[in-house]
Symmetry: C2
Subunit: 456 residues, 2 copies
């Protein structure tokens, strides 16, 4: 057994681990940084659905870039840590024993399957989507000559998987809740995405839960829905979410969990001295409602990693992580869907006194520009102060960055008043008109609706 000493030990190989290591390297150039990861070359987590269709087409193309600086300046070990002794500050791997000064858990998440479906995984044609190349290749190889694919779950991974599998000619049926992407979009936007998926030829079976799996030998041959409908398939992919991977932390005696993840404070410190947790394995809450959050996003992980890296040796900047704003985007057909903060549905559920403003315009100006298409923006604000607490967009690809304007607005606790006379760069080939820039008009509508109607 190879025993070594390091300053900063990171367990994990996903985006959280990589961002922590690079940021720590910049902040503390004299410290030795060690990463222990299971796979030599990891996968880009959000790229995984695109491995299955025409967009990327192979897991080789989805390798996580390990920049030169990481390889040269950071000690990267491919190993599996099986236990940590916090007292002696020692991590035990299968091949390495590492004594650390600061430890960072970045052990990520693993597929979550509801109890009622977990037995189906015994069948050789039922899969989840893990983040490891071998697992991904296994699914991809299995379905290569299969025609009918059933996807259970209408979150981002389910929707993206459905679209990619359809792109290579599969018969795809997706089964899920009342609407797709229900945690990020209100019904008015979700149904636009559903229509596009139907136009692509994907079968949507919404508002129905899988009640039974019909089996034949070692195969699951069909899903029976609550209403008795039978959907036959050659392979079934469960895209029913992920859960924090806290196995190592718990087996090492770090029992303090929060919302299923490792308990952390605003600087990502756990209850153990000198031990941090970042990324999907940490316990997350919603920035606005302060409720537990199941959001698992590489971008959230990256933000947490940057906060942790700035706090490893005392506070460098007084900017903690104050909960996820659940900021997402994806592409359905040729439309981008993006969301941040709370939806109207969530605001209602939480009894938030909110007001909505929305606006639709063309994303180029004049609207006769060659590639012009519609851009719809909806903003949600607290009625009393006008503070922006959520936003949703359907538009062309630039929606993926406009949502980041809304994200900055939410994170900085800005109000509709700040947005109404925002100076924005507008250009015929690139943006909507300055006269009808949807973000500003939606903010203006919030103020109008706010004063127009004082009852909920």
């Amino acid at each position: 057994m190879n025993t070594q000493t390091t300053d900063i030990l990171v367990i994990g190989g996903g985006p959280a681990a990589m961002v922590l290591a690079t940021t720590a390297l910049e902040n503390y150039p004299d410290k030795k940084i060690t990463i222990v990861k299971i796979e030599k070359i990891g996968q880009v987590p959000c790229g995984i659905p695109y491995v299955f269709g025409t967009t990327l087409g192979s897991s080789d193309k989805n390798a996580m870039a390990c920049g030169g600086v990481i390889v040269e300046m950071i000690d990267i070990k491919v190993d599996k840590i099986v236990k940590v002794d916090f007292k002696t500050k020692t991590a035990f791997g299968l091949e390495n024993t590492i004594v650390y000064d600061k430890l960072v858990f970045a052990t990520g998440s693993i597929p979550f399957v509801h109890e009622s479906l977990s037995h189906t995984l015994d069948h050789e044609n039922v899969f989840t989507i893990s983040k490891y190349k071998d697992d991904i290749d296994k699914v991809k190889n299995y379905i290569e000559d299969k025609k009918r694919i059933i996807i259970i779950g209408t979150g981002f991974i389910g929707v993206e998987m459905a679209i990619e599998l359809k792109s290579i000619g599969k018969d795809v049926t997706i089964i899920g809740g009342k609407n797709i992407l229900v945690n990020s979009f209100d019904t008015d936007l979700a149904i636009q995405g559903e229509d596009i998926m139907r136009d692509l030829g994907i079968n949507l079976s919404l508002g129905q839960h899988a009640s039974n799996v019909i089996e034949n030998d070692n195969l699951a041959t069909a899903i029976e829905l609550c209403d008795g409908t039978i959907i036959e398939g050659d392979a079934i992919i469960l895209c029913t979410g992920y859960k924090p991977n806290t196995v190592l932390a718990e087996e090492s005696g770090l029992k303090d969990t929060m919302y299923g993840g490792i308990w952390v404070d605003e600087y990502m410190k756990t209850t153990q001295k000198d031990v941090f947790a970042i990324g999907d394995c940490s316990g997350r809450r919603d920035s606005i409602t302060r409720n537990p959050s199941k959001v698992m996003l590489a971008s959230t992980s990256a933000a947490e990693a940057r906060v942790a890296a700035n706090s490893l040796y005392g506070l460098k900047y007084l900017k903690g992580f104050s909960g996820t704003i659940a900021i997402f985007s994806t592409m359905i057909g040729n439309r981008a869907f993006a969301s941040a903060g709370v939806t109207e549905a969530q605001a209602k559920k939480e009894n938030i006194d909110y007001v909505v403003g929305s606006f639709e315009s063309m994303n180029r100006h004049p609207g006769t520009m060659p590639d012009a298409s519609k851009q719809f923006i909806k903003l949600i604000a607290l009625r009393s102060s006008g503070q922006i607490i959520g936003g949703q967009i359907v538009g062309d690809k630039e929606a993926g960055e406009i949502i980041n304007i809304i994200g900055l607005t939410i994170e900085s606790q800005l109000t509709a008043h700040h947005l109404i006379s925002l100076q924005v760069a507008t250009q015929p080939v690139l943006t909507p008109a300055p006269t009808t820039y949807p973000l500003i008009k939606a903010a203006q509508n919030i103020l109008l609706n706010k004063s127009a109607c004082h009852t909920k």
Copy 2:
């Protein structure tokens, strides 16, 4: 003469006038709003260069949309106001006399031509680019069968005109300062745009001023540069900027000007009671340096119009207009160039103690995604506080919206500390990776550079 009474009279037909009218309509539904404009259907100002090439191809396609609500709810008169009597609150047009309660000047800007070149306009083949359809059509018709076009001026209009004219097969030479777009981009970015323009086949003649115009009968046949170079052309287009159109204001006795425009306070009030000025005709200053600003942007005008419309009858919101942040974008070839706030060159000139952070990454992730291309972001911050005072981007089309994240950062006086752990939506098809999102990495680099080096 037709005498009428109105509540709010707007003189002008550009974006400022339109935004003022629609916003006032929303805010004060009981007030009568009258617009007096010279053309029945105006042109989208920033769309004008695109009329000349393949992008739009005709001024008909560049008509400013006059939404149904404007036409129905607002009294629009096509007339030219020639004098205003502020004492009796009366505006005199060629066909209408209008008594107002509140008056808004939105008379825009007219082409600026330096004294040394103004005599060249006597030639029938020398033009400026005005904002009126007839003028634009006149230029377009004249050059239709001409081959060699000389453009003088390397601001946005000059650059966009050069690209559009090249797109329809003209031989284009553009003459200007040391670099293109010098007010918005530092040399490191500007030269990238210049290289693209050269690749498109445009002749760049930079760092040389036109010293002489060679004439033959009624035509200007060539431009002689300071170094003696002769550039022959069949038509010459002067894209040397615009100046506030204050003729009516001055002739009506409103002599208080600021930086060439009508003097206004933060709520766009002039020195005359109940009289406002917005858009290019108002006196502008830079939000950061507080110096006079020659920036003439429809988006700035729209912001001013929204502020004025919220202040016509007393303050509605305490958000005044605190100067332009000069937020621009444009497309050169297949790359978007975007800028906000001060450049490094301006910061140096103003003796600002600044620090720069920059980062380049791919705009999709992994970098193997089908339409991935490079995205470069440079941020400029005050060294002492880290407050962001400028940003520049070269990237794909989404740069047009990323600059608006930077704009919000500048306007909200946020610092690099706010950006380093910003939660951003990242998605393979839409954005850079969360691990290397250039805006965040550039902010992180500002903090590193800030602490690494305390001397300028």
